[in-house]
Symmetry: C2
Subunit: 387 residues, 2 copies
Amino acid sequence: MLNKDLLQMETKDVYANVTEKVKAFKYENPNAEIISLGIGDVSKPIVKPVIEAMHKAVDDLSSMDTFKGYGGYYGYDFLREAILKNEYQQYGFTKEEIYVSDGTKTDSTSILELFDKSSTVLLANPTYPIYRDGAAALNRKVEYTTLDENFVMEIPNKKYDIVYICSPNNPIGNAYNKKDLEKWVDYALKNEAVIIFDNVYQGFVRSKDIPKSIYEIEEAKKCAIELRSFSKTASFTGLRCSYYVIPNQIYKDINVVWKRRTMNRFNGASYIAQKAAEAVFLPQSQKLIKENIDYYLENAKILREGFKKAGYEVFGGIDAPFMWVKSKDQKTSWQMFNYFLKELNIIVIPGIVFGLAGDNYIRISALGKREDGIKCIERMLKNEEKN
Amino acid sequence: MLNKDLLQMETKDVYANVTEKVKAFKYENPNAEIISLGIGDVSKPIVKPVIEAMHKAVDDLSSMDTFKGYGGYYGYDFLREAILKNEYQQYGFTKEEIYVSDGTKTDSTSILELFDKSSTVLLANPTYPIYRDGAAALNRKVEYTTLDENFVMEIPNKKYDIVYICSPNNPIGNAYNKKDLEKWVDYALKNEAVIIFDNVYQGFVRSKDIPKSIYEIEEAKKCAIELRSFSKTASFTGLRCSYYVIPNQIYKDINVVWKRRTMNRFNGASYIAQKAAEAVFLPQSQKLIKENIDYYLENAKILREGFKKAGYEVFGGIDAPFMWVKSKDQKTSWQMFNYFLKELNIIVIPGIVFGLAGDNYIRISALGKREDGIKCIERMLKNEEKN
């Protein structure tokens, strides 16, 4: 018999409806020059020093003396030590609290298995949809909290066991400041909740008042697990390598138990991806990666200003690659989607796929190519003039 | 609160006791020249045409025109098509029934999530321990069946929902023949059970009467999921790439549901590993891979004959890289382990880590280096003469 919990997930890939509608439009309009602002993937290739490290890693696998087989369940020491030294030592963590994995999609849903099955899960509305469907597949009870006027999750007036916070945020593109996070750490400590802090876009943070890590908040080590990835910063979306921190202070033996689980369910990330990840921390890589992210953030600036010029309210895109664009005229997000596709040949993501509260918004992305973004703005402004 | 199910797993890595005892022995005997016959990892490096494909894949990631980001949840079409063409078309499967993943450890435990949580699981005693601990972590009820005189799982007289069969077998090193598998397919069909057929050592099969796939058995498509990997055949233990087949015929919508689950829990195997896997099917790779496996099988022959000469009964090692060696004098498997370590400075795996029924056996492996195996035999025979 099939596991009924799996039937609780959304029927399809959240983007499936978008893909289908775009396909149908292309079929009817074979000559339309369609540009996607829906893209969640990166467009910049992997930087040179990381490419060189990968070539070397490939060569390691070609000879008996340097061959690497099973590499351990939690990641190679060389990588966990590099992560510790560059990112987590400053908060007092040890290597034993750091895990290397194959992607934050895997991590953000599997981590629920660490907690009792009766645990209740609180998500934002709108939310990154994987949290919702991952929780459904594992039969965890999910409820939602609305966002305040700054698009920050509102503190609920009851206890939840697990709270997902995504900052910098997908889909909205805003980022939580210190006060926002202090409020949530406080809630977690008072309610014995654990925060799953999805921090994969941390490389995009440029504003001074935005914490780069939840551990900048005092006592977050008692209540927060932080997830990071090389995907969106170092263009590892195809390479697959992520990492996360489980502080010893959350529960007694939390890492003993999670290591046992990981050992029995996973055989480690690819050696080549781990050698690549190690090279991400080289100063020459960091410089190039910062340039890539600056490119995306400049894209975001151009898009933000263009959409504003066209009369839209635009949120996010300062410390994150996404923007959240409000309808000018009470259109639903699918109506907005249709307008952009049919009138402008631009793909956007309707906000409702992230939750009901997203239904007057679309998500646009700055992860594409500069020239495509500029073309979109031109089309949009030209069309506004016409009307 | 921590998930109590995770506490059902064995306290430690199954090999942890072995590792600790070896460490203590080394500390007391720093000059001992220790050889491991316990090794479950491969020692041969990755073959040249596959290395070349990886260098090319690394270069693909270095330029904007050829960059590959997210590659889909179930594997690239180029790889699923190569797998289909080379291995599964002959049984009438389609690409949509094939999944590419990051390793059979992940697959063999995650697949339990496909089935209702009340499903009962039947394992062999002794068994590959990951099945046991993976099932415990997911709170599935596990029972065991004994092996017959040919080390084939005995058919139970009651219904189970899920049956794990590993052939060629780890730890015993034997392989199920057509009759053995027909018996189990028959059981599965009569009891509406699903067989999880762990087939990762299929590349080692040389005997004519041993099926290379469970789908050689008529009607297995109605009841069996087959798991394969590039790890032990093409030396991908560090690279991470596996694959499996879920036949549409098992349940209505089985693949619809599993695709939905996979999409929400996994973002695909590394592009480089998938390009490497594609190159495994090249004729020039196949030739070199066969030579590697022949090397291991020749190791197995030398070890088998050596252990026999030393008076042991030895099983397996014909169509698999492992052998199962029985105690000559009713020793327990830890006593055998101690004898080999202390008298001969050879590491073996005590059978009891695979289950109680393994307690008069040790597992030895042919995956190491030829010269090491020969040295072990010499030491053993010299010691026998002495006594």
